[in-house]
């Protein structure tokens, strides 16, 4: 079938969503405009800024570089989902405690990327944290506190795991 419109079924934050989508609709536009989840932000729309980061089948991807139609049959987790489930409660708390943001536009993507790094286990070096978050750099330069927050959570989780 070579059509413009396709019926898709996607699990968004654990909830089944069925929609007919235009093939050209990106995943992030689908989430924001059809599913009403505006926590994933639209920044550069060419994969540079990372503000649109979401998880598809457990892997963080650019929401602007994947089409909604490609997500048929997948599980998509957005910042709303991981926030509501409590999965990143400690990370959110650390960002608040250290004021780890300036305008906050990049924050949802930062949190998802940081959580992917932390979920791999261990305490990453500050250099490794910076490299991992390099795909979410925007323009405020307020990254020192973000690295502090991610490092603090890594240490706290490693301590708790002992």
């Amino acid at each position: 079938m070579s059509e413009r419109f396709h019926d898709i079924t996607v699990s968004v934050n654990g909830e089944e969503v069925r929609e007919s989508v235009d093939a050209r609709t990106t995943l992030v536009d689908f989430l924001r405009e059809t599913a009403g989840l505006t926590g994933s932000h639209v920044g550069c729309e060419h994969g540079v800024c990372g503000a649109c980061s979401v998880r598809v089948d457990g892997a963080v991807v650019r929401g602007c570089l994947m089409l909604a139609v490609q997500c048929h049959g997948t599980r998509v987790d957005t910042i709303e989902g991981v926030a509501d489930s409590g999965e990143i409660a400690d990370l959110q708390q650390a960002f608040v405690a250290r004021n780890a943001l300036q305008c906050g536009f990049c924050t949802p993507g930062m949190l998802l990327s940081a959580q992917e790094l932390l979920a791999a286990g261990g305490v990453p070096s500050r250099e490794a944290i910076r490299v991992h978050l390099s795909g979410n750099y925007c323009r405020c330069t307020g990254y020192q506190a973000i690295v502090d927050a991610v490092e603090a959570v890594a240490k706290a989780r490693a301590g708790a795991a002992r």
Partner: protein, 279 residues
């Protein structure tokens, strides 16, 4: 911006993809990390996207007959996690962390990078440095093309409009294989201003079969053949001087030809050091 309208079809097999590609203005969609960006910017506007994600058997990493074979749909992140790849293709393992960012590597594919053939991309140079070969399926059947013949010009490869790149093969490394990789980028994960991938066989102080493949300095990966001869004899400074003969980088938004040639020399010294030690 948003993409112009297009139709979409999910290919069930390589043969099905080739069949779908018969339509005018059809393009293959693999990881999409370059293609969808160009769609969003309306730099390209195909009539049909043929999605090859999910075709069975194209996402495998297999060791066979002294080679390591990577299916075209192997994603960078999957390759990074592969112990088999780290052991048998250490050059690619060195290059992978430089490609984009983790979220890009979760989605981007080995085959997509090679088929797109960005002149500043890491993998095309790695495959040239390794003397790899690429398997292509098309309406007339299957064929294999060497990496040296695959990259033909700026974003131009041996792939015809209805061809599908299915796999790449590189010679598996053994204890005597030495590899080196270095690049300059303004920010980690950006495309390189200049980069170098190298592979050789240690023969005492000499380096046998040395291949130096620069990227970001021309329309395709560029072999530095004069520098290879000098470096094979362990004369690093002569190799750096020889780059003036080997490279003729065009000016781009990052740097002038003189700066790029200088940076190529700096990278060559770093890579020479890596090649002098077992990988």
């Amino acid at each position: 911006m948003k993409p112009a309208p297009f139709a979409y079809a999910k290919a069930r097999s390589v043969a099905h993809a080739i069949e779908l590609l018969a339509q005018d203005d059809a393009r293959l969609l693999a990881g999409g990390q370059s293609l969808i960006a160009t769609l969003n910017m309306r730099l390209s506007h195909p009539a049909l996207l043929v999605d090859i994600n999910g075709i069975d058997g194209l996402d495998r990493i297999t060791a066979k007959n002294g080679h390591l074979e990577l299916g075209a749909l192997v994603r960078y992140a999957q390759a990074e996690r592969s112990a088999e790849l780290a052991r048998r293709a250490p050059l690619i393992a060195l290059a992978l962390p430089h490609i984009g960012h983790p979220a890009i590597r979760n989605r981007g594919t080995i085959g997509g990078s090679l088929a797109f053939a960005d002149p500043a991309a890491e993998l095309p140079a790695c495959v040239v440095a390794l003397g790899g070969e690429l398997d292509i399926s098309g309406p007339q059947g299957q064929r294999t093309v060497s990496a040296d013949d695959f990259f033909q010009g700026l974003f131009e490869t041996a792939l015809a409009p209805r061809d599908v790149l299915t796999a790449i093969r590189v010679p598996a490394a053994d204890a005597d294989i030495r590899v080196g990789f270095a690049e300059f980028a303004r920010r980690h994960g950006d495309y390189a201003m200049v980069g170098l991938a190298a592979c050789a066989r240690a023969e005492g102080r000499r380096l046998g079969g040395l291949r130096l493949a620069f990227f970001g300095v021309g329309p395709t990966p560029v072999r530095a053949r004069h520098a290879e001869q000098a470096l094979a004899e362990d004369d690093v400074e002569a190799a750096v001087r020889a780059l003036a003969q080997d490279l003729d980088p065009p000016a781009d938004v990052h740097a002038s030809p003189a700066v790029k040639t200088h940076l190529a020399g700096v990278l060559l010294r770093r890579v020479a050091l890596q090649l002098s030690q077992p990988s």
